[in-house]
């Protein structure tokens, strides 16, 4: 069994490497590889002494920040793991199974192999990926080095964390499968486990939140040493015992020396062995679930290749009413908006998406709550809202077009049909881009509303009257759709101009060359964002500066907004016209050869 697995893995790896090396003859892969190698060299491997913590003071400062950041990252990671485990019990698959590829199912399931051997095959297969990931993370994320440990210790630490989690999820799936088969009280079992997880999470939260609140609202919180606070927190008996399972798993990673590492390794390996025993001794029929999982993953991969947004949970599409009634007469662009919004509904308003949104809101409320009690509302919460909104707005403008792909990119497989429609190219392009533009604009509008409410919440800026605030917000809101539209024209133009590059970059095969290609696309997107924004921003600044002395701030902001709208709309019209012309001449059969 082990021999067969090794044969499969080693030959697959060798063929994969050979294939990757051979395809470097194509410029798109060669260029992607060169960019990725340059990136890793400059940002990860190349040590810059001037930027490092050379002085003792800097090292101390980084150490303080590091311990708090590490604790925060651990808390978030553990919470995410807990949520993932709870979710497996709350919404289990119809047929829980183990992760096998379709080819593995085709060859191994009918083969004369015991079920236990199949489980071992699955665990060993996962180990290959886990070992590779552990080494990779240890190499890449050890550069800052504030944890003061060795790369080998970090690699083993990561291996324990990932292996334990993998075994736990496999054990959960097998247990669910077993319970579904054998227990008439399957729902009661699930309810019981979920209740236990929720009770555990609540106990954990309340055992720590009191001390966190006291620390944040204390008069000398800014002066208190983060390490002292963390020590205090861990000395709380309830918190200490409740976090024990997580600390056992995480301790080897955080060991600062070989002695501490070996001491932490023993309990972690015992926990790992217990998990292994759980998985290997659970008798359950996982075959049907594994087949369903493999089919779902294959469908998701196909969808990704079609450029569709990854679906949360990978559920089958459902028939839904349109987002609005589509009249038979009217601009045909609206039909594309209607169609693309309809196809985005499950991703935007699906049950799981709403559950995740609600969890994020609870998390945000839990995080902001203690802060808002600590100081004046405007003083503490407002800057956080402004910064978060600005970050979301930035990500929406720069990364949103890469994620919201329900446009020409999503309809690439239907290009034949689209080209038979009696529409000019620019109208087809506009129609296809309307839905993602609407989605991204809605997000930008939310950030503008939040920012306009939170900026200078204490009223320190004299000239920022409510009227000016609303005027600026409305001006920015009116420019948002054009900005989003232009940003969406960029990746669609890349797709039409270089479909070979586009198809390679959207495939999920990964690899360093893909990483490089995505970097190139990211840089192109950023370049165009600047190219579009700089003239508009310059014009706005010029108009405000030259006219505010004559008309006052309010009217000058309106004039600036009109100038920005004129520039952005001209750019959008030009971009749409060009994209439409390119799509009219677009010949996928030529490009795919």
């Amino acid at each position: 069994m082990l021999g067969a697995l090794l044969y499969l893995r080693l030959h697959s790896l060798r063929n994969k490497v050979v294939q990757r090396v051979l395809r470097l003859r194509q410029p798109k892969y060669l260029m992607g590889t060169a960019v990725a190698v340059a990136y890793f060299y400059f940002f990860l491997f190349r040590r810059n002494p001037a930027a490092g913590p050379s002085s003792a003071l800097a090292a101390q400062a980084i150490s303080g920040v590091g311990s708090v950041a590490t604790a925060a990252i651990c808390a978030v990671a553990c919470a995410a793991a807990l949520v993932r485990i709870a979710f497996a019990w709350i919404a289990p698959a119809d047929k829980p199974g183990l992760r096998f590829s379709e080819a593995e199912i085709a060859f191994l399931f009918p083969a004369p192999i015991t079920r236990r051997a199949l489980i071992h095959f699955r665990l060993l297969s996962a180990q290959a990926a886990i070992l590779f990931t552990s080494v990779l993370i240890a190499v890449f994320f050890n550069r800052s080095g504030y944890l003061g440990s060795h790369r080998a210790i970090h690699a083993v630490g990561w291996w324990i964390i990932l292996s334990t989690f993998d075994l736990h999820m496999n054990g959960t799936n097998l247990t669910l499968s077993r319970l579904r088969e054998t227990s008439p009280h399957f729902r009661m079992w699930r309810l019981g486990v979920v209740t236990a997880i929720v009770a555990y999470a609540a106990a954990l939260f309340y055992s720590g939140i009191g001390r966190v609140s006291a620390y944040l609202s204390g008069p000398d919180s800014s002066q208190a040493a983060p390490e002292a606070f963390l020590r205090q927190l861990s000395e709380s008996p309830a918190f200490h015992w409740l976090t024990l399972p997580f600390r056992i798993v995480l301790s080897p990673y955080f060991a600062t020396g070989p002695g501490e590492f070996l001491a932490a390794l023993a309990p972690a390996l015992i926990l790992l062995a217990l998990h292994y025993h759980w998985v290997s001794s659970t008798e359950a029929h996982f075959e049907e679930g594994s087949i369903a999982m493999a089919e779902k993953r294959a469908a998701a991969r196909e969808a990704a290749l079609r450029g569709e947004m990854p679906k949360l949970g990978g559920s089958r599409p459902k028939a839904r009413p349109g987002p609005f009634p589509l009249a038979a007469k009217g601009p045909p662009e609206i039909a594309f908006l209607w169609k693309n919004l309809l196809s985005m509904r499950s991703a935007l308003f699906g049950r799981r998406a709403l559950v995740i949104l609600m969890m994020l809101m609870v998390w945000a409320a839990a995080a902001i709550g203690p802060l808002s009690r600590g100081g004046g509302r405007g003083g503490v919460v407002a800057p956080i809202v402004v910064v978060c909104s600005a970050m979301v707005a930035g990500y929406t403008v720069l990364l949103g077009p890469q994620i919201a792909r329900q446009d020409l990119r999503g309809d690439l497989p239907n290009a034949d049909i689209l080209k038979t429609y009696p529409l000019e190219g620019w109208r087809l392009a506009l129609g296809e881009l309307l839905a993602p533009t609407a989605i991204l604009t809605a997000i930008l509008w939310c950030t503008i509303i939040a920012c306009s409410a939170a900026v200078d919440a204490d009223g320190a800026i004299e000239w920022l009257t409510p009227g000016i605030r609303v005027t600026v917000a409305l001006s920015m809101a009116s420019a948002a759709p054009f900005l989003c539209l232009i940003q969406l024209i960029v990746p669609n133009s890349i797709m039409v101009l270089l479909p070979g590059w586009y198809q390679a970059s959207r495939s999920r095969t990964g690899g360093i060359e893909m990483f490089g290609q995505r970097l190139i696309f990211g840089v192109v997107q950023l370049f165009f964002a600047l190219l579009v924004a700089v003239p508009a921003a310059g014009a706005a600044a010029l108009v405000v500066f030259s006219s505010q002395w004559v008309f006052g701030i309010g009217p000058s902001v309106v004039l600036a907004a009109l100038a920005v709208l004129a520039i952005l709309s001209s750019e959008a019209v030009l971009g749409l016209w060009w994209l439409g012309r390119r799509f009219e001449k677009f010949d996928l059969s030529t490009e795919s050869k």
Binding site: P317, A328, W338, K339, A415, D416, T420, L423
Partner: protein, 243 residues
């Protein structure tokens, strides 16, 4: 109705279609036949405006496809061999979407009999994922017929249809031709072409080998023999080799 003049399509150094000239008048059904790789699908895609020809001209319903593609496309419908549908639109929503694109005002009154004719009326609210391949093919046909095109291009129209569906498809093609439509269909099913087509165009390696009425082409390759089948004519015309 369809006028093709010196049509050529090249992919780099490879010529898929060269110097193709023919016409299809209202009421005619032209069968496009040829071995694999002869350039049938490329020709159909050029005729329907999906890919631009390298040279030559195509006029559809009096409109030049290069100069006035919108007017030309308003008159045509293309039916691909592989049904391409929007995953999240139901059967009914597909028809509503297409109606808006082509500006078909009374699409609901047209859609109902069309769905009945194609036996899709029970699946009006189903997504493509819930349809069999044959049903998907029927939906593509329904979408294509909704705006009552006067020019139709079928690429392997019978693929995936059951025997009854094949019979209905053949009847539908003949009926629409009798109503004045100009139709081009490509297929490897030569008995279908014998039953449905008025004219035939044989392609080999991107070039026209024969073009004309079934009787005319038969006479050209029958060597004076009587009752020679289209299959035999096809083999004689193409030399029995790959495209």
């Amino acid at each position: 109705m369809i006028e093709v003049e010196a049509l050529a399509k090249r992919y780099g150094s490879f010529t898929a279609v060269r110097n193709l000239t023919f016409s299809v008048r209202p009421g005619e059904v032209l069968g496009l036949v040829g071995p694999n790789g002869a350039g049938k699908t490329t020709t159909l895609r050029c005729l329907s405006g999906i890919i631009p020809p390298t040279s030559g001209s195509v006029r559809v319903a009096g409109h030049d496809l290069s100069a006035d593609p919108v007017s030309a496309k308003r008159a045509l419908a293309f039916f691909p061999d592989e049904p391409r549908l929007f995953d999240y639109l139901t059967v009914r929503q597909h028809l509503a979407f297409v109606a808006r694109i082509y500006g078909v005002a009374d699409h609901e009154s047209l859609a109902t009999p069309l769905l009945q004719e194609l036996e899709l009326d029970g699946k009006a609210d189903a997504l493509p994922g819930e349809l069999s391949r044959g049903m998907k093919q029927k939906l593509v046909i329904a979408c294509g017929l909704l705006h009552s095109p006067s020019v139709m291009f079928f690429d392997e129209p019978l693929t995936g249809l059951d025997p009854l569906g094949i019979r209905r498809m053949k009847d539908s093609i003949v009926r629409r031709a009798q109503a004045g439509a100009a139709i081009v269909l490509s297929s490897h099913l030569l008995h279908l072409l014998e039953e449905v087509c008025t004219n035939v165009l044989i392609l080999k390696k991107g070039e026209k080998v024969a073009d004309g009425t079934l009787a005319g082409v038969s006479a050209q390759f029958s060597n004076g023999e009587a009752g020679v089948s289209l299959e035999e004519i096809f083999i004689r015309a193409t030399g029995g080799s790959e495209g």
